[in-house]
C-alpha cells in the first residue's frame, strides 16, 4: 500500500512539473541558471571584446582577455571539468615583435574543421586611432589560430598594413577566412592554405560595422553604409548587395545605420540566422545558398518605453537557447534599457514577447559581448565585464547561462 501511495505521489509531482512546463514553457529561471566565472592568472585583464567562441571538438570555451594596451591572454574554459586555463599571451605565442603590438582580439573565436580556433587581432587603442601609419602607430592586425588540445599556435600573417581586423569568420568546407579591416572597413578574403589574401574594397562609412557571419554553405554576410546586407557569394566569388536596407526604427541616427549589426545567433535546424542591429532591431535572415534570402523584421530588442528611444539600446551579444528563444544582455557604452542597469533579456521569435530575466548594477555587469556561443549541454556563454570606475576601467569575466537548468561554474 505504501509503495502504491509513493508511486501515486511521485506520479503526481511529475504530472505537476509537466503541467507547469507545458503551461509556462519552461522552468522558472533563477539566479541558479547563471554563473559568473573569473579568468585567473592575468590580473592585468581589463576587458573582452566579442572574442569568445566554442570548440565543439574539445568542449571548451575560448576567450581572449586584454589589458587594453599590449597584452592579450588566451583563456579556455573546459566545460567538462569547469577549469579555466590561461594559455599565455598571443604576442608570445605568435612571436610578435614590439612594433607589432596588439591591444585586443576583437573578432569572434571560431572553430575550423581542423579543430583550430581562428581569430584576428586589433590595435584598438589611441596609438592606432591617432598615430595610424606612423612608425609609432599600428603595424596591422593578424589572422591567427590556436589548437585547444594540442595547444599549438599558428600566426597566419597580416591582413592589411596599418589596419586592424575587427572580425572574421570561416568557411568550414574550404577553410577560407573572411575579415573586415578597421578603420577603412575593407572586406578581406583570405585562403590560409594558399596564403592568398584579397582585399575586396571598402564597404563602410566612418564607423566600422564590427560583425560579419557565415551561413551553412560558407557564404559570408556583412553590411554596407546603408545597412544593406552584403553577401560574399561563394559560388561565383562575388559580392552581392541587398536591394533594401535592414529594418530600422524611424529616426535612427546615421551613425547607428552605418554601424550595421552588433551580434547574431544561428538556428541551422530551422534555417534562420537572427541578427541585432546597431539600431536595436532584431531581424531574422532565412539564408539561401544563392542570393540574399528572406529578411523578417522581428521588432525591437525591448518593449517600447518613453524613457529611451527605440533605436537606443545597445546589444553587442546574442545567443539562442535550446528552447528556440533568444537571450541577450542589453547595456554598455552608456545605452541602457533601464538607467544604469544591465539586463539579460529573453525574446521569443514566435510570439515576439520580451522578458527581462535579470537586472544588474553596472558594477556587477556593465557590458557583454559575443555571438552564438553555446555548448552541447545548451549552456550559453557571453564575455562580460563589470565597470570599476568612471575611467573606463573594468574587470572581465565569463558568463555561463542556461535558461533550462541550473549551471555549474
Amino acid at each position: 500500500m505504501q509503495i502504491i501511495y509513493n508511486k501515486f505521489f511521485i506520479s503526481g509531482i511529475v504530472c505537476c512539473c509537466l503541467f507547469c512546463l507545458t503551461a509556462f514553457g519552461q522552468a522558472k529561471i533563477t539566479k541558479d541558471n547563471i554563473a559568473f566565472i573569473d579568468y585567473s592568472g592575468f590580473p592585468e585583464g581589463q576587458s573582452t571584446w566579442n572574442d569568445i567562441g566554442f570548440s565543439s571538438k574539445y568542449n571548451k570555451v575560448v576567450v581572449g582577455v586584454t589589458n587594453h594596451r599590449d597584452k592579450v591572454a588566451l583563456f579556455d574554459y573546459d566545460v567538462s571539468t569547469g577549469k579555466m586555463t590561461n594559455n599565455g599571451l598571443i604576442s608570445e605565442l605568435a612571436h610578435l615583435r614590439g612594433f607589432q603590438w596588439q591591444a585586443k582580439i576583437h573578432s569572434k573565436i571560431i572553430e575550423g574543421a581542423d579543430g583550430y580556433m581562428y581569430f584576428s587581432t586589433d590595435g584598438g587603442e589611441s596609438k592606432e586611432e591617432y598615430f595610424m601609419n606612423h612608425p609609432s602607430g599600428y603595424a596591422g592586425g593578424f589572422f591567427m589560430k590556436w589548437h585547444p588540445q594540442a595547444k599549438t599556435f599558428v600566426n597566419l600573417g597580416m591582413g592589411l598594413q596599418y589596419e586592424s581586423i575587427k572580425d572574421i569568420d570561416i568557411d568550414p568546407a574550404t577553410g577560407t577566412l573572411y575579415g573586415v579591416s578597421y578603420p577603412q572597413a575593407h572586406f578581406l578574403v583570405y585562403d590560409p592554405a594558399k596564403n592568398i589574401m584579397r582585399d575586396l574594397g571598402r564597404l563602410g562609412s566612418s564607423h566600422v560595422p564590427r560583425v560579419l557571419f557565415t551561413d551553412w554553405w560558407g557564404n559570408c554576410y556583412y553590411v554596407d553604409w546603408r545597412q544593406r546586407l552584403v553577401k560574399y557569394q561563394k559560388n561565383g566569388d562575388s559580392l552581392l548587395f541587398a536591394r533594401n536596407s535592414l529594418p530600422a526604427f524611424e529616426g535612427t541616427p546615421g551613425e547607428k545605420i552605418v554601424t550595421g549589426i552588433t551580434a547574431y545567433a544561428k538556428d541551422k535546424k530551422n534555417n534562420v540566422i537572427y541578427m541585432v542591429t546597431y539600431g536595436a532591431k532584431i531581424v531574422a535572415l532565412y539564408p539561401q545558398k544563392n542570393g540574399i534570402g528572406k529578411l523578417v523584421d522581428l521588432g525591437g530588442v525591448a518593449d517600447s518605453s518613453n524613457k529611451i528611444e527605440s533605436w537606443q539600446p545597445y546589444v553587442p551579444n546574442l545567443n539562442i537557447g535550446n528552447n528556440g528563444k533568444l537571450y541577450y544582455i542589453v547595456g554598455g557604452h552608456g545605452n541602457y534599457v533601464i538607467e544604469n542597469k544591465t539586463v539579460l533579456m529573453e525574446f521569443d521569435p514566435a510570439t515576439k514577447k520580451h522578458s527581462i530575466i535579470y537586472e544588474y548594477r553596472v558594477d556587477e555587469l556593465g557590458e557583454a559581448t559575443g555571438s552564438d556561443t553555446k555548448d552541447k549541454e545548451g549552456n550559453l556563454y557571453f564575455a562580460g565585464r563589470r565597470v570599476l570606475d568612471n575611467e573606463d576601467h573594468s574587470k572581465p569575466f565569463l558568463i555561463k547561462f542556461n535558461p533550462g537548468k541550473k549551471v555549474q561554474k
Binding site: 589611441s126 586611432e129 591617432y130 595610424m132 601609419n133 606612423h134 592589411l160 598594413q161 596599418y162 578603420p183 577603412q184 575586396l200 574594397g201 571598402r202 564597404l203 562609412s205 566612418s206 564607423h207 554596407d224 553604409w225 546603408r226 559580392l239 552581392l240 548587395f241 541587398a242 536591394r243 536596407s245 529616426g251 535612427t252 541616427p253 546615421g254 551613425e255 545605420i257 552605418v258
Partner: protein, 403 residues
C-alpha cells in the same frame, strides 16, 4: 566676488570641455562640407557600380562636376556629371558603350576655351598580355549634364595615355603615353598626333628602374603635365628630373632634379601641378611627397618641404582664399587633405575630411570619412574644393572656402 566665481566656473568648464577634445580624433568637417554619393551597387538610383568608379580625373564647369573614373582590370570606366548646387549625381556614361576595351580615364581633363574637355584612356590588357591602345577622348557636357563622347584616336599603337594637358591659345594638347612614356602632341584643329621619344626612359634608365629597383611604369612616369604662361610644357622624366618642352622649336630641356629624400631619387616623379593666379607653378613629387615651386623664368625649383610624413602628393588646386589645397599620402597609408599658404600659415594638415553624405534612403545623413583621396579640384570661382575618392565604391567630398 560673484563675478570672480563665475569666471572661475567658466574657465573650469572650458578646461573640462577642451581636455577631452584634445585627446579625441578631430576631423576636418566644416558644417558646410558635404558628400555626393556616386557609387552604390544594386540600386534603382543612378549610381556607378563597384570597382568601376575610382575618381581619377576631375574638373568643374559652372555647376557641373565632371569626373572620369578608373576601373579594376577587365572592367570599364565611367564619365559622370554631378551637380554642385543640387548635390547629386546627374548623369553617368559607361565608356564601353562608346569605346570598348578601356580600363581608366586617369590622365586628368584638359578644358579648352569653349569648355570642350579632352582626356586620355588606358586600356585593359589583352589575354596574351599585350597592351592594346588607349585613346584620346573629346567630351562635351550639355547644359542639363548630358555627356557626349567622341573618340579622337590614339597617339601610339599599344600605348595608353597617362598624362594630358593643353594650351588653349595654340589649340594643342600634350600628353605622355603608358607604359613607354612617349611625349606626344595633338593638334585639335588638324586632328593630328605627333610623337617624341626624347623624354621616354632610356635603356640605361630602365636598367635602374626595372632591373635594379623593380619599379613599374605607373611608379616612374610623370602622371601630370602643365603649361606655363610662356607656353612651355613641364613634366618629369626618369630619373628624378624636371623637363620642359618648347613648342616653338619642339625641343626638350631637362632643367633640374626633383626634390628628393636621400636614397629615394629613383621614386621621383611629378603627379600633380597647380598654377596660381599670378602664374606661379607648384608641383607635387610622388616619390616622397614634397611640394615644390617652379620658377619658369629661371627653370629652377624651390623645395617647399612635405605636408605630412608619407610619400605621394596626388592632387593640387587653388581655392578662392588663395590657399593651395592638396592631397598628401595614399594607400597603404591614409590620405591627408592639406592647405599651404606661402605668406602666412605655411602648411596646415587637415587630415581625413569627414562630411555628411545625404541621399534618398539616407536622408538623416551619414558621416563619410575620406581615407583614400585621388583627385582634387576647385570650382570655377574657387569657392568650393571638390575631392574624388579612390575606393571600390568612391564618392565625392566637397567643402566651401571663403576669400
Amino acid at each position: 566676488m560673484k563675478l570672480l566665481l563665475l569666471k572661475f566656473f567658466a574657465f573650469a568648464a572650458l578646461v573640462f570641455i577642451a581636455a577631452p577634445s584634445f585627446s579625441q580624433y578631430t576631423y576636418f568637417k566644416p558644417l558646410e562640407g558635404f558628400g555626393i554619393e556616386l557609387s552604390l551597387s544594386n540600386t534603382n538610383l543612378k549610381r556607378m557600380p563597384m570597382n568601376r568608379n575610382s575618381i581619377a580625373s576631375l574638373t568643374v564647369i559652372g555647376d557641373h562636376i565632371i569626373g572620369g573614373t578608373a576601373a579594376k582590370e577587365n572592367l570599364a570606366p565611367y564619365i559622370f556629371v554631378a551637380s554642385l548646387s543640387k548635390r547629386e549625381l546627374l548623369e553617368i556614361k559607361d565608356l564601353s558603350e562608346v569605346l570598348p576595351g578601356q580600363r581608366s580615364i586617369q590622365s586628368g581633363f584638359f578644358r579648352a576655351a569653349d569648355n570642350t574637355l579632352f582626356a586620355g584612356t588606358i586600356s585593359n590588357s589583352l589575354n596574351n598580355g599585350a597592351n592594346p591602345s588607349g585613346h584620346l577622348l573629346q567630351i562635351n557636357i550639355g547644359t542639363s549634364g548630358s555627356i557626349n563622347v567622341s573618340d579622337l584616336g590614339m597617339p601610339e599603337p599599344g600605348e595608353g595615355i597617362f598624362a594630358l594637358t593643353g594650351n588653349s591659345k595654340t589649340n594643342l594638347l600634350y600628353g605622355i603615353t603608358y607604359p613607354s612614356g612617349i611625349f606626344f602632341s595633338y593638334n585639335i584643329s588638324s586632328k593630328t598626333f605627333k610623337s617624341f621619344k626624347d623624354i621616354a626612359p632610356t635603356l640605361a634608365d630602365l636598367k635602374v628602374l626595372d632591373q635594379e629597383f623593380h619599379q613599374l611604369p605607373e611608379e616612374y612616369l610623370s602622371s601630370a603635365l602643365v603649361v606655363d604662361n610662356k607656353g612651355m610644357v613641364y613634366g618629369s622624366r626618369s630619373i628624378n628630373k624636371i623637363f620642359y618642352f618648347d613648342p616653338a622649336d619642339e625641343s626638350f630641356h631637362t632643367v633640374t632634379d626633383l626634390p628628393e629624400v636621400w636614397g629615394r631619387r629613383t621614386l621621383g616623379r611629378v603627379e600633380a601641378w597647380a598654377t596660381s593666379m599670378d602664374g606661379r607653378i607648384y608641383g607635387g613629387n610622388a616619390g616622397d611627397g614634397q611640394l615644390f615651386e617652379v620658377d619658369s623664368a629661371t627653370s629652377k625649383i624651390k623645395n617647399l618641404g612635405k605636408p605630412i610624413m608619407m610619400n605621394r602628393l596626388r592632387g593640387l588646386c587653388f581655392g578662392a582664399d588663395e590657399k593651395l589645397y592638396g592631397i598628401a599620402g595614399a594607400s597603404p597609408g591614409y590620405a591627408h587633405l592639406f592647405s599651404y599658404d606661402a605668406e602666412n600659415e605655411g602648411y596646415t594638415d587637415l587630415g581625413n575630411p569627414q562630411f555628411i553624405l545625404t541621399a534618398p534612403g539616407i536622408e538623416q545623413g551619414i558621416q563619410w570619412r575620406g581615407f583614400q583621396l585621388r583627385t582634387i579640384t576647385a570650382s570655377e570661382d574657387g569657392k568650393y574644393i571638390v575631392m574624388g575618392e579612390d575606393e571600390a565604391l568612391s564618392q565625392l567630398l566637397i567643402f566651401p572656402v571663403g576669400k
